[in-house]
Symmetry: C2
Subunit: 479 residues, 2 copies
């Protein structure tokens, strides 16, 4: 495991790339990947198809080599997209061609049982013989929009691609990865992804290589993970402990239960570990563990757009008492505190608002609130040094609120990025409309008070972790 | 507390209604309520405004009485929408006019502190003197679309109204109620609400009256609750225990934490109880307690559209292993079991699918799945008597899936209503599109595997409660 991170770095650094199993059908996996590279990859591209001939992609004609051995140039990375039974021969030829970086996306290996297991073992022998590093099999491979690198074999008509951003993702489950990528495209501006790694059966490259590489990758500011089990858990935890002092690492470790483990066994050929032990180890290493798909989206919005808080003191502004109570319950659930406002802030609020507004935190500007009331309350708590994070709750159905003004005010405060500022809009059409308006500028907006507070909770959890380890230079705040 | 339920019944049974504080401005609360009743209420309507004159609403001219005492006819129910300081006089006049049912929506009473508390006490004396039943103050009052009864003082331009359905709701927080009503309008067909009761400060009518009335109301099949604290907790629990054997009762009891209680104190003037005790009492009485706003929407979709399961055995069909693992974890979290499929079903699946599909439950038809594969798998498990509920997971980004066919298949199975059938669609645009298509026919569809399984969990929790109490005639199944 020396130079672990280089293993993956060399995949991404490729200046020449070969698709073994390139198809002339643009909807077939081998056709999709060929087209992805022809259109976006700045390096050299070679296509292998046993039928031979020629194939035009993105206005350029590519010869179809019958074997990779027919190609004279050196090749940095190859992808194998042929049925499992032909994969060993293709890999052997890569070895003979001195290609040491191979992505195998095809399924039909250890995840399907004894028969596939045998092919995977055959592949392992070839890998060892030629010292080939393999990503996969049974995966989506790699995606890095800024590098024009895209081995995801699903056409854009089925799977949209999010644009370049600061979050890197690695996933044991390709299906999870695909759906999450699809979801990120649709979330806000869609500018989210630096590197995406789907490593499938982890016959070679596993979660430890991924975390190590992304830890050292300067363009990766946030690491998001989907794991079912560990291939090299000790190394993963060791690396996580080190890297989480520099950038936040968060995600799902599924297979939490025996039932989940049973499901996982027939999927990525993984075995469950003792969840309580895993949970402790992950927490101690600074891994921010969440459990649901919705949590992950909340992580992207929170860590992808917000600075870290200086502490755990939260101010809540709401126009609905019930929403304030639910949010306050969640403040407690997430080990946060309701900030005690400074005298100055309290005075400002008391002077600005009628007697029936509740000016103590949580500040309830009631069903009589106007957009201007929101501005006054939000700015007052945002400017208060005794407030570390602000939660902005709005039920837009109240009569005097101009939703457009409210959205504008929210956007303006959100731009300051001095402390976490999270919004929740709850209700019908106006809430949906406002949420879209905020998200299109990557202003985090949630559909319930609890989710907004929980997002603050996750940011604060990480800030506290850094503080405990005297890593006070918050990486998110330096961006 | 004798004839508790009649107190509320008489409000809804009104054949004559008076708006005290009717405004000629259609956007002011007194104008909105007057218009609501003029447009939708089949009984007689009277308007009171000290300025006198006349006001045309829905093509009909109404005299504006200077005082309710000027009206000669008898009046069943009056709503008082005047500033708090004028409310005692208005209530006194209701008493003189022998009106014993009064809704007071205005705020500015006990919830704002000492001064308001004094007015509320003055009101209480008048209520006692004339034996008036009061809903409020500081609330939205009542909404019953089928009865044309709508005291919600927010105009439809701000607050959309869901249409008639089988779910009744009562809420201590008016703001919560408004936002949730707004949300239900937008959810699926919008046909959800039988009775809605927002009782605010509960100076008289409280949660115990609400549960009692809705328990006896035949059109109410499901009861959904938002509570912060109890005015008459003993009675509420007693009634809940009795009614939950006939129809499911679910909802949020906020103020779970000290932080929440602090927020609640300045809101509906409620004090927190010991949450652990409350939690036990509610559970023992069959109350299905949830914590988040999202949970409530899931409750509406599950209990509003699905039959109850015969047991806790769940079958999962998925095209993504990761989604299957997360769903299986949630199966365990929710005290459910993965169903062991019957031999016949297992044989059918094994014969129908290629070897790399995982045909044991959770059934993973992989990224190669077609809509037809979904049909085969879903029908097989749906028809299997050893399966009590079916969870239908789909990541639509896979290449061979025709999403329109898949949606059609899902709709068809959903119509059978023989067992719970819950869908989750995860991903980008296709997932969003499919979700909308399903929801517009009230086919429950969630945005994550976990939420779909949790919905099964809630239905099963209630089914088990009924079974433990030998109330095997499931009320939802009799609809």
């Amino acid at each position: 495991m020396k130079n672990m991170s280089n293993k993956l770095k060399n995949f991404f650094d490729a200046t020449s790339f070969c698709v073994i199993g390139a198809s002339t059908n643009p909807l077939k996996p081998g056709g999709v990947v060929a087209e992805n590279f022809a259109k976006k990859f700045p390096g050299k591209l070679y296509l292998v198809n046993p039928r031979g001939g020629e194939h035009e992609l993105a206005g350029k004609k590519y010869p179809l080599y019958k074997s990779i051995l027919d190609i004279e140039d050196t090749i940095d990375v190859a992808i194998i997209i042929v049925p499992a039974k032909y994969a060993p021969k293709a890999l052997e030829e890569c070895g003979k061609k001195s290609i040491t970086k191979v992505i195998i996306t095809t399924g039909g290996f250890s995840e399907i049982g004894v028969e596939g297991q045998k092919i995977q073992e055959e592949m392992l022998e070839i890998m060892n013989k030629y010292r080939i590093n393999v990503i996969g099999p049974n995966c989506l491979g790699l995606y890095a929009p800024k590098l024009g690198y895209d081995t995801m074999f699903l056409p854009e008509s089925k799977l949209k691609r999010p644009k370049s951003g600061k979050i890197s993702i690695f996933t044991q489950s390709g299906a999870f990865g695909a759906a999450f990528i699809d979801q990120l495209y649709r979330l806000g501006s869609g500018n989210w992804v630096s590197k995406f790694i789907s490593y499938g059966n982890a016959s070679d490259i596993n979660e430890a290589h991924c975390i190590d590489y992304l830890g050292s990758d300067e363009e990766t500011k946030v690491i998001l993970v989907y794991l079912e089990d560990f291939k090299n858990g000790r190394k993963f935890i060791e690396k996580t402990r080190e890297i989480s002092l520099k950038k936040p690492i968060m995600g799902i470790k599924a297979n939490r239960t025996e039932t989940g483990a049973k499901a996982g066994a027939s999927h990525t050929a993984a075995l469950s570990s003792n969840n309580a032990v895993v949970d402790d180890l992950l927490a101690e290493a600074g891994f921010i563990r969440v459990t649901t798909w919705g949590d992950l989206e909340d992580c992207v919005l929170a860590f992808g757009t917000q600075p870290l808080p200086a502490g755990d003191r939260v101010a809540i502004v709401t126009d609905g008492g019930g929403a304030g109570v639910m949010a306050s319950d969640m403040v407690s659930d997430c080990n946060l505190k309701l900030a005690k406002l400074s005298e100055e802030t309290q005075k400002k609020l008391d002077e600005s608002f009628p007697v029936f507004y509740s000016t103590e935190n949580p500040i309830d500007i009631t069903g009589s609130a106007t957009a201007e009331d929101y501005r006054i309350a939000l700015e007052a708590v945002y400017n208060d040094p005794s407030v570390d994070s602000v939660v902005n709750l709005c039920l837009p159905c109240i009569p005097n609120l101009n939703i457009e003004e409210y959205i504008q005010i929210t956007k303006e405060i959100s731009k300051r990025k001095e402390k976490p500022f999270l919004t929740a809009l709850v209700g019908g059409n106006e809430a949906i409309w406002g949420t879209e308006k905020l998200l299109e500028e990557d202003v985090p907006c949630f559909d319930s008070p609890g989710r907004a507070v929980r997002a603050v909770g996750l940011l604060t959890q990480y800030a506290k972790f850094l503080e405990r380890h005297n890593a006070n230079e918050s990486p998110l705040n330096q961006q």
